[in-house]
């Protein structure tokens, strides 16, 4: 049955990238435990609007855990306390009456805060531009069943391909590294026969771009895996390292 709880929220408010930013306190009253976290923020925003104050800016879109647009750090954890759950799929039944929640944007050198909880994650697009694709033009493909792919391999590729690009791994990492993000993409494509021709160049270019954009390196903290809403495994980072070393030693491209 539906029940309601009261919470105290300490929300990061920041007018613009240049503004210093600060926490503001709000009281969330009579919050139904069937609500999602973002619906709880909607309720706060409706009230702020009616009170003549500016609502909290936050990113969100699909609200079913797949677009990767939403995300905030709740009490120190990206996307909040539930395992393998995006903020939009986090329900209030996981909180207790009287809880105090600190809500802030991802903190990482490569991601600038745009306003309140809204961040600029275009560096992830830039990493993709460096090589996160298979070069094939529309119209030139052979029949899909020409190249068999073992079911197990396809499943492993799919495990990696599930990444939603939300950036929680970067936010969780003490080095603000994007290795899980890059590892997932490199693994997905390197596992499949279609992705092999460009595997070396992809690994080298994506890693280089990640470094250029100010992301840190991996020091095996495994925080990324713990916080990834899609449960992407750090074995993908191991595979990325293998692809990268192989490419560095043997590939013609440096």
């Amino acid at each position: 049955m539906t029940k309601t709880i009261n919470l105290t929220l300490k929300v990061w408010r920041q007018k613009s990238p240049k503004d210093k930013g600060h926490f503001e306190t709000y009281h969330a009253r009579n919050i139904s435990t069937d609500m999602s976290f973002l619906e709880m923020l909607d309720v706060i925003n409706e009230q702020l609007t009616l009170d003549g104050r500016e609502p909290i800016a936050f990113d969100h879109d699909c609200r079913e855990g797949i677009c990767g647009m939403c995300g905030a750090v709740v009490n120190g954890r990206p996307h909040g306390p539930e395992k393998e759950t995006t903020l939009c799929q986090l329900h209030m039944r996981h909180f207790k009456d009287g809880d105090v929640l600190a809500i802030e944007p991802w903190r990482a050198r490569a991601f600038k805060v745009v306003k309140d909880l809204v961040m600029d994650r275009t560096p992830l697009d830039e990493i993709m531009q460096a090589g996160g694709y298979i070069s094939v033009n529309a119209g030139s493909a052979p029949d899909a069943n020409t190249i068999p792919v073992p079911a197990e391999t396809a499943e492993l590729a799919m495990d990696a391909a599930q990444c939603i690009g939300c950036g929680a791994c970067v936010a969780a990492c003490p080095n603000a590294s994007a290795m899980l993000f890059v590892g997932a993409k490199v693994s997905h494509l390197a596992l499949l026969p279609q992705g092999r021709p460009e595997a070396a160049r992809r690994a080298i270019r994506m890693i280089r771009e990640m470094d250029n954009l100010g992301f840190g390196n991996c020091s095996n903290e495994t925080e990324c895996e713990a916080e990834c809403p899609k449960g992407i495994s750090i074995t993908n980072i191991a595979r990325l390292n293998r692809e990268f070393f192989k490419a560095s030693f043997f590939a013609s491209e440096k």
């Binding site: 619906e39 677009c67 992830l124 493909a141 069943n145 396809a154 391909a161």
Partner: protein, 637 residues
């Protein structure tokens, strides 16, 4: 004005080949002289942007989110159809064509649908080459599953995330072209109007959602791939930012809007649970492959499902439709669920739900098999409802999901405005009055990868050497109008939030222009929408200003357009005095409560021309001619 669909002559199976030969070409050296604007980066917009760039055109790509990878195609779960006939179960291009025409209740253009079935196979080839991790059999070849409205297995899938994987494929192809210098991406932009120069679409006005600045963008042609308008109902399975603004503004500039009353209610969604709810979540229709739909036989039976014995359950879809069973098309499944709930047999706290039960499938195949097929959907269900579907049946209820209506386009996907092309869900073209499952991904990618890239050249070839610039007076005028509208929204200074208006509009549309419609209800809804619209412009409260990230202002503009567009839907529903597919007027039904078409009077596309706010739009009819299929009463018994 006579609507010319420009359908090529000759036998159905040869039309597209013949047309491709007859289309004018732009030489590779000249392609680089043209710039094309593509608005939206879902499956249609993303694939079009990538392919146009591969061909050598300069592409400016716009999206409302922070990255093109987030468009709502990403949420499509179940799969994508193609006529590969890999399972050797009797599929063919002709059968896919026929199923789609029939599923759409004979309200789509034959030639378009046939072409869609033809290119479906190319899509699977291309996406596999892109590295989409489609499900495989143990021998390494591609796996298929069944979907509603078909008796063959023709649906390719990547677990329950097919839309995500296909979209990331199109997005990756786009990113490759960004590096090649052929695509410029403009994220966090909202198209607020279309700019016409001498009657041709030559640009758009966008709002930079971060800075609030209005921007002018010029091009040789404009492609809209801005999705559907299901959010007119407030609660739908669409993403929060999905809206009608781009297509509605194009409509106000002269593009005809076709069949706006054709909306699809998806049968397998998680039921509504509270007034604060912001959106509905769909569970893939593929669940109906293994799940059995039932309600208690006795109205008002409040026992928990596991205490209701087998003989007191009514598996109503299997009973009423023995040959298709739980796999009847979406509109049939949705209406039946509503009918059961109307009889008081609905389950759950609200009584607005039916069971979708996997107990038999788990007993038959084992939990592991079911988990592999639907694991992510089961997990999603559990997250939202707090119930474990492996132990207790899911509760489902229909929700608005997709809109078949959209801007009218000819066979070349060009609207009634020269140079304005419309693709994907934003156009009206291929699904008639009802879309079959796994066909939306197919249509979006068909338009973007394999149709528009050919047909747009035919238009551009005629305008080589013409210059367009944002200095033209049309850009200045349209920008001024956009600015005035924004100022007006900010100046209302009322007492009700924009979401509050949107929620009320949604309820009106759901009650009177939803799953089941009556003439009295529609008339009443029209009055209510007009009153609500008038109140909006007096009493809406839009905080903040226009020189900043202002999400309330964004929503206000969208809701203002929904408030006008809703009336157009109602007008269209009233004009179509028949039932067909997703449009069900209670006055027109068979003895078995199926939609009863009137082919003599309504076998046409209803295309509406804008005549001014509070003015009657003008109806233009494109007759639908069926030379290859016989119009029948749809039957899924």
């Amino acid at each position: 004005m006579v609507l010319d669909a420009k359908v090529p002559g000759g036998p159905l199976a040869q039309k597209w080949d013949r047309h491709r030969f007859e289309l004018k070409l732009v030489s590779p050296a000249n392609k680089r002289k043209f710039t094309i604007i593509v608005v939206g980066t879902g499956l249609a917009g993303g694939s079009a942007a990538a392919t146009l760039a591969e061909l050598g055109y300069n592409v400016k790509s716009f999206c409302i989110q922070d990255s093109p990878r987030r468009a709502h195609s990403i949420a499509a779960q179940g799969g994508i159809n193609a006529a590969k006939n890999y399972p050797n179960d009797g599929d063919s291009i002709w059968r896919l064509f026929y199923d789609t025409i029939k599923g759409g209740d004979f309200r789509a253009r034959e030639a378009n649908v046939y072409r869609l079935a033809q290119v479906s196979n190319l899509i699977i080839d291309h996406c596999t080459a892109q590295g989409i991790p489609f499900a495989r059999e143990y021998g390494g070849l591609l796996a298929n599953r069944s979907f509603g409205g078909a008796q063959v297995s023709r649906t390719f899938y990547a677990r329950g995330q097919t839309g995500q994987q296909l979209l990331l494929g199109a997005y990756s192809a786009m990113m490759r072209q960004v590096t090649a210098g052929k695509i410029r991406v403009f994220p966090r932009r909202e198209m607020l109007d279309l700019v016409l120069v001498n009657g041709h679409a030559k640009g758009i006005i966008t709002r930079n959602l971060i800075t609030g600045e209005l921007e002018r963008h010029a091009a040789d042609a404009v492609v809209l791939a801005t999705g559907g308008y299901a959010n007119v109902y407030f609660l739908s399975t669409n993403a929060m930012s999905s809206n009608v603004t781009a297509t509605y503004r194009a409509y106000k500039r002269g593009a005809f809007f076709a069949n706006p009353c054709f909306t699809q209610i998806h049968p397998t969604c998680i039921p509504v649970h509270g007034t604060y709810q912001s959106k509905l979540t769909l569970m893939s229709e593929s669940l109906r492959n293994d799940g059995r739909v039932w309600v208690p036989k006795k109205p008002g039976d409040k026992r928990p499902p596991n205490e209701i014995p087998e003989e007191e359950r009514d598996y109503y879809l299997e009973r009423k439709y023995p040959s298709f069973g739980n796999l009847v098309p979406r509109d049939v499944a949705s209406r039946n669920a509503k009918a059961q709930c109307d009889q008081g047999k609905g389950v759950g706290e609200t009584g607005l739900a039916v069971y979708l039960d996997f107990a038999d499938a788990i007993k038959r195949d084992g939990r592991e098999v079911i988990e592999r097929k639907y694991g992510n959907l089961f997990a999603m269900y559990q997250k939202i409802t707090g119930e474990d579907p492996y132990q207790t049946p899911m509760k489902i209820y229909p929700a608005v999901h997709y809109t078949m209506g959209g801007l009218w386009v000819d066979y070349n996907l060009m609207s009634t405005i020269d140079g304005l092309f419309v693709i994907g869900e934003a156009n009206f073209s291929d699904h008639g009055a009802n879309r079959l499952g796994a066909s939306a991904l197919m249509q979006g990618l068909a338009d973007g990868y394999f149709i528009l890239p050919y047909t747009i050249g035919d238009y551009l070839a005629g305008y080589l050497g013409e210059k367009v610039s944002t200095d033209h007076s049309s850009f200045k005028e349209v920008e001024k109008e956009v600015r005035e509208k924004t100022d007006r929204l900010l100046a209302i200074g009322g007492k009700r939030t924009v979401d509050d208006f949107h929620r009320q509009l949604g309820l009106i549309m759901w009650d009177y222009c939803g799953m089941s419609r009556t003439n009295e209800g529609l008339e009443k809804a029209r009055r209510m929408v007009r009153e609500l619209r008038a109140e909006f412009w007096e009493n809406a409260l839009v905080p903040g200003n226009d020189r900043d990230l202002n999400q309330s202002l964004e929503r206000a503009g969208r809701v203002a357009d929904f408030l006008e567009f809703a009336e157009l839907m109602i007008v269209d529903a009233l004009a179509r005095q028949e039932s067909c597919g997703g449009h069900f007027n209670e006055a027109y039904q068979t003895e078995d409560n199926e939609a009863l078409r009137d082919d003599e009077n309504f076998c046409h596309v209803a295309a509406w021309q804008y005549k001014g706010v509070d003015q009657e739009p003008e109806l233009h009819k494109e007759p639908l001619v069926f030379e290859n299929v016989k119009l029948t009463q749809r039957s899924y018994k």
